[in-house]
Structures are given as C-alpha cells and as structure tokens.
C-alpha cells in the first residue's frame, strides 16, 4: 500500500492543529499526529487496536494509505465509523489523520491511537 506523497503546501496543511481550529474550542472529532513509524507499522497498530477491547470493528478496509473501520454496535445515532488516512512526508515520517463520523456510540470513551 502506498500512502499519498505530497507537495510543500499539502504538508503545511496537514500539520496537526492548523491554527484556527484551536480558536473554536469544540470537542473535535478529528485528530492528527506525526509519527516516525513506517506506514506498515502504523497500519498494523491500527488493525491491532481495531480488533481489541470494547470498541470492536469487525469491518476493516484498507486501500492506498487509508483504513476505514465500521463498528458493530448500533449507537444512538447509528454505527461508529472511523476513517484513518496516512500521509507520507518521507518513508520515516508520516502524518496520520483520524476522523470519526458524527454518529457516536452512547457509551464510547475517546478513541485514541498511540503512535
């Protein structure tokens, strides 16, 4: 799987917490972080997390640097869907973007992937 490769402006806009998002102090449903792990390590870690614990994601799809997960349990507003995208800046330096949809499980805590 090949993560997307980027120009300078892509990189600038990928960096976590682009300034103004902080201004609107909202409980953000997106997260972005940088990591020095390789893309394959990142993907394995995501799959590991997806298969364990309270939040169980029976459906995991991978394609071109993107991982999509759909939860099993129906929450108040439907199923939890998480979309993870990996951007390569260099082979040893990636930015990972995690988005979850607006549907939130009633008893979900926060979903965090530690790089």
């Amino acid at each position: 799987m090949k993560p997307t490769s980027l120009n300078a402006f892509d990189i600038i806009s990928l960096f976590p917490d682009f300034v103004l998002s902080n201004l609107i102090k909202i409980c953000r449903s997106d997260a972005r972080f940088t990591t020095q792990n390789s893309a394959s390590t990142i993907i394995s870690r995501i799959e590991e997390v997806a298969s364990m614990g309270v939040l169980c994601f029976p459906q995991v799809k991978k394609k071109d640097g993107t991982v999509k997960m759909l939860g099993r349990k129906e929450g108040r507003k439907g199923k939890l869907a998480i979309h993870v995208e990996i951007f390569e800046i260099t082979p040893a330096f990636h930015v990972v973007e995690v988005k979850k949809n607006q549907e939130i499980l009633q008893n979900a805590g926060s979903f965090v992937i530690k790089a």
């Binding site: 300078a8 402006f9 806009s13 300034v19 902080n22 609107i24 940088t34 260099t90 330096f93």
Partner: protein
Amino acid sequence: MGCFNSKVKKQFRGHEDPIALASQTAFSVSEVEALFELFKSISSSVIDDGLISKEEFQLALFKNRKKENLFANRIFDLFDVKQKGLIDFGDFVRGLHVFHPNAAQEEKVNFSFRLYDLDGTGFIERQEVKQMLIALLCESEMKLADETIESILDKTFVEADSNQDGKIDKSEWQIFVSRNPSLLKIMTLPYLRDITTTFPSFVFHSEVDEVAT
C-alpha cells in the same frame, strides 16, 4: 425586521450590528450572536476592552499569550483589516466567514494566497514556503534534512511556478489550487456550521444572568 429587542441592542453596543454582519457573511443572525460569545471571552481575556489584541489571540489559540507562531501572526494580520493591531467584532466575523463551508471558493483562494505570502509582496516566494515548512517541523519537534526540504520545494515549485521565476503569483496560485483542491481544506472549518450548538449560552435573560456569564 425591526423586532430586535433593546436588551440585545445593549449587548452589542459599541460593536457592529449582528444583522448587518449576517447579511455580509455566510453566518445567520443567531450564528453571529454565538460568535459574539466567543469574541467576548477572547477579547476580555487580557484587557477587557471589546477588542482582540495579539496577546489575547495567542492566548486563545495556544493557551499562552506569549507564544509566537508564523501562521497565527499572519491570520491575525489578515483579520486586522484596518491594521490597528487589534481585531474588532466585525473583523472577527468577516475573517471567520472566509472559513465557513458556504463561503465562496474565490474568497478562500484569495485568503490562502495572502496567508502564505508572508511579507505581503504579492508573491509566495520559495524562501517563504521554506520558512513555513521549517516552522511547522520545529513545532512538531520533527526534523527533516535540508536536502529533503529542498527537494520538496523543488517539486512544489516545478508544479506551481509555471513561469519559473522562483515565486508563485496570484494567477499561478489560482491554477495550482484548482488542480489541487485539497490545498483549500485548511480554509474551511466545518465546525463553524455548529457554532450555535457550541455556544448555546446566548439567551436573553435578566441582568443577573448576564453578570453570571
């Protein structure tokens, strides 16, 4: 319209009229009112003067009023249309409007160009892009070799700088962005659509409640 009650007028005294601001921007009147809640908390955080200073802006963004940041500086300057070193409520609403999902593409393209044109020369120079990259890497405590940065810049300028004069002018930027629409992602804050639910405290209560907030 005309049924804007006197309590509200009092709240907004000294600031631009929310109805006028709503008509100039993608925000509804109630969204402008919600933005006022946000504006009030930021503009009173260091000096309670109804205006946002650079320090207050930094405090709101970084929880640290002394923290300098390239992009924060640039955004502050772009919001501060009258160049007074202070952002008033009208500036605030009109500035944020550009980031609204419903704002015109053209406005976003223009704003992003001016954002990256750090020294306001009307061109995005290679040196400026390098400066921004380095600033961001520094913030994330990541390092990239200079050659890697240079090659990223080469690649970017080959694509964006069509007349190869070492800088990106406005029309080159427009073309570059139309070919790479994801570059404008940063120019939209989808959360702005939910602003009234984020700041639900704007209700017309008695004097007592006003003091409590």
